[in-house]
Subunit: 220 residues, 2 copies
DNA sequence: GCAGGATATATTGTATACAATAAATGATAT
DNA sequence: ATATCATTTATTGTATACAATATATCCTGC
């Protein structure tokens, strides 16, 4: 087991990210450096550096002399985010399928099972989300496109806040597992077109349902 | 004219970015915080923050306790970068063409003319590069996909260092202008498929030529 | 009461100082 | 001579202190 020494900045990054994704820090909420620093028992320097990193991830917006806020995306922007994912993930999957080994299928299925287990304990939506991300990434990694995978990973993190709506309000979780199962089957039988089509549909359908929820709440 | 007040960190970001893109800081070169701070007459804090931002841009790699280096990409990674651009830029162009107004064509053509002017003064490769970026972005912006455009912009910045090879060694500039002209024509006649195909070719061909140069220099 | 401006307050931006880590150097034993 | 460990040096990471900016409050005149 590696020692995994972490710098304070990294710890702060993870903590703030967790808070934003879990909704404990809401979109648009200002992130005061001093307050966070005191709460996390560090100076403002690591907090600032963490906020900068989170800005790069897209979770935080930083304005000079005015401070940082948790990013708030419009319904339109969320749609763009998901459509971008659809484009990139389909490209990755297309490239990955011919290179998938049995190990990949096994690993993906293990993650899928963990996911259904996490679903039972209904309070573990966050870990379900993480597993969902891991499931998809497992399928993409064989493409060998390191940078693209990382980019998609980041887009997924940015989607996560909104996916929670989908899971809670539109019953996304119940639909997810059969679709994941089918996706795996298609990958295994090397049906590239079928798999990509299902994946695209999987992503865009979620986007649609999230969009209707967001539009409703925006006009409110 | 806006006052455009800049924070020290921002100034440092721009300076270091310029140095990396111009080649004055070479790929793989370590970036010592103290040295940069002294040279730029600031403390290490804005230098650190600048390096973090540049890491997010992909121009710098940061390793805890070991310091930052200018990113060095393998031939394979450069190929991935350009193929990613091809995918995203074609998608943007496809969405943009139906929404392009006359103003867009005029603006794009103005940029194109500036580009040929910059080409005359052969030492202005950097500004040629900036104009090239601007030309393409002008065509993409009507798509209204703010996030995607920004992402592509970043990918272009990352390509710039390598595009310089293409321009200098493979005569990329002479080919560029006719292709840009043709691209504009196709956009104007709303020939989506033709325009996208030309654009893809435009990007992937550059990628190929850069790749051969890089592979040669890697095996050396 | 309200507009405009001066003052005070909160908050961010940056310099300096110190702590922690990693790399380089040198000493010791085999 | 070489490998191993202790010590030094270089460099990064973080806390504290101060400066600059933006926001809020209060005053003044009308």
């Amino acid at each position: 087991m590696t020692v995994e020494y972490k710098t304070r900045t990294q710890v702060v990054v993870e903590e703030i990210r967790k808070r934003i994704l879990s909704g404990s820090i809401k979109a648009g909420e200002p992130l005061r450096q001093a307050a966070l620093a005191e709460e996390l028992n560090v100076s403002r320097i690591p907090v600032r550096e963490a906020l900068l990193q989170l800005e790069a991830e897209g979770l935080v917006e930083f304005e000079a002399h005015k401070g940082a806020t948790a990013t708030r995306l419009s319904a339109e922007q969320v749609t763009e985010l998901f459509e971008l994912r659809a484009l990139l993930e389909c490209d990755l999957l297309r490239r990955a399928i011919p290179l998938m080994t049995d190990e990949v299928f096994k690993a993906a299925d293990r993650v899928r099972l963990k996911m259904t287990a996490a679903f039972e304990k209904s309070d573990e939506i966050i870990s379900w989300s993480e597993l969902n991300t891991e499931f998809h990434l497992t399928l993409y990694r064989p493409a060998g496109r390191h940078k693209t995978v990382e980019l998609v990973h980041n887009l997924m993190i940015n989607s996560d806040r909104y996916i929670r709506f989908h899971l809670l309000l539109a019953g996304g979780v119940t639909k997810a597992d059969p679709e994941h199962h089918a996706l795996l089957q298609l990958c295994q039988s090397k049906d590239i077109e079928g798999a990509c089509q299902l994946l695209q549909q999987h992503i865009l359908e979620a986007a649609n349902e999230i969009n209707t929820i967001l539009v409703r709440s925006e006009s409110r």
